[in-house]
Symmetry: C2
Subunit: 202 residues, 2 copies
DNA sequence: CATAAAATAAAACATCGTTCAATTTTTCTT
DNA sequence: AAGAAAAATTGAACGATGTTTTATTTTATG
């Protein structure tokens, strides 16, 4: 057992979150319990409550990490010199890939939005905005035709759309006639939405 | 305490589900526990396991009810003699209203999609399809321009989009610049998507 | 009326989040 | 350096949970 001041509170926090990520990835979010995390890092359950207010607080910090990770994931897959449409499709594909690769983590992102009664803290909202900003910046070339306000709104709508496509795994659950993949759905969303949005219509 | 054969198993099932709906609506999904449901209907917890395989099974049946209810809700609000665009906007608004009015119920619909490991049973998928079919039928007038296959795909994408808009309550959580309401987002999604989809573009 | 079968209750189990008192280790004071 | 104060950590405890098992009651059956 770890004994006094082997690690600072900040270190324990780090260790706990590392353990939490591993548990979620390898055993699923249902196995993410206080005791499991504590014993994994060589402490007992009481210690966790020294560095986190409660389990929800820990999950919030865990989700913040996921958002950072997702943001980097999307950044790494962005391509230069592409049309907004191409950029968005790359982003959507990357988002879908992340959700598929780290499903448990990704799910927790939205479970928490439900369970948290209080408002989300600023440091969390900032992480959300960062991810969200990627879609926004892909749309900025359209600022000539559309106002900045409309761009922001479109980015929200598009992200929500891709999010919904991932959430309802319709491709898997409702696949009755002809397997339409998640990415195909996202492509359809982006193509048609952008056609309408970028004003190529009468 | 209720005593032997006061109610058939089917009646107990009904009572339990009625109690569950009330609990979820009035106290939230977190208060939906086996003991709470059992005592509400005047039985003890063991009896519940006579009519449901486990709590997840009960939630699944509860969700089936919600889907039926949602389907009727959407039906009641449909309008006749309207363009696909109008129909879809009415549907989207109704969907959003339902999610707002019965948030706890509505949330459980998608939490369960996550937690259930096994495939969803047929009787549940049929309920999903029924709701989904409403969007599809609103799009059928476009069958001339687009193939039946494309209609089905578009319905999926649009529903997913509205779903995502509801899920990320961006209007409330990420509302940094200018309050864009959920319905406005849905309108933007449908308008632009349909413009692109219905082929009014070059 | 006795006995089998079913329905229900009650108790038990392991686990959970959370709190708290007890114990150990460090730091501070003189 | 020694003892007191403070902090870190444990371990036990509490109430609640999902689920299973045992015991009891009620009905049905012969």
């Amino acid at each position: 057992m770890a004994r006094r001041s082997d690690h600072s509170r900040e270190e324990i926090k780090e260790m706990a979150l590392n353990a939490a990520v591993t548990i979620v990835d390898e055993e699923g979010s249902k196995k993410l319990t206080a005791r499991h995390v504590a014993t994994t890092i060589g402490y007992t359950v009481g210690t966790l409550y020294l560095v986190f207010k409660n389990l929800d607080d820990m999950v919030l910090h865990l989700n913040a990490r996921t958002l950072d990770d997702l943001h980097q994931w999307l950044l790494d897959r962005r391509i230069a010199d592409a049309t907004p449409q191409q950029q968005l499709q790359v982003l959507a594909d990357a988002y879908i890939d992340y959700a598929a690769a780290y499903t448990a983590r990704w799910n927790m992102l939205f479970e928490s939005l439900v369970s948290v009664d209080n408002e989300l803290p600023d440091w969390y909202l900032q992480r959300l905005s960062k991810v969200f900003g990627l879609i926004e910046s892909a749309l900025t070339p359209l600022t000539n035709r559309q106002g900045q306000e409309a761009i922001v709104q479109a980015a929200r709508v598009l992200w929500a759309g891709v999010q919904g496509i991932c959430t309802l795994k319709i491709g898997q659950q409702l696949d009755l006639a002809g397997g339409q993949s998640t990415k195909e759905m996202a492509r359809m969303l982006i193509d048609n939405f952008l056609k309408g949005f970028s004003g190529e219509c009468r």
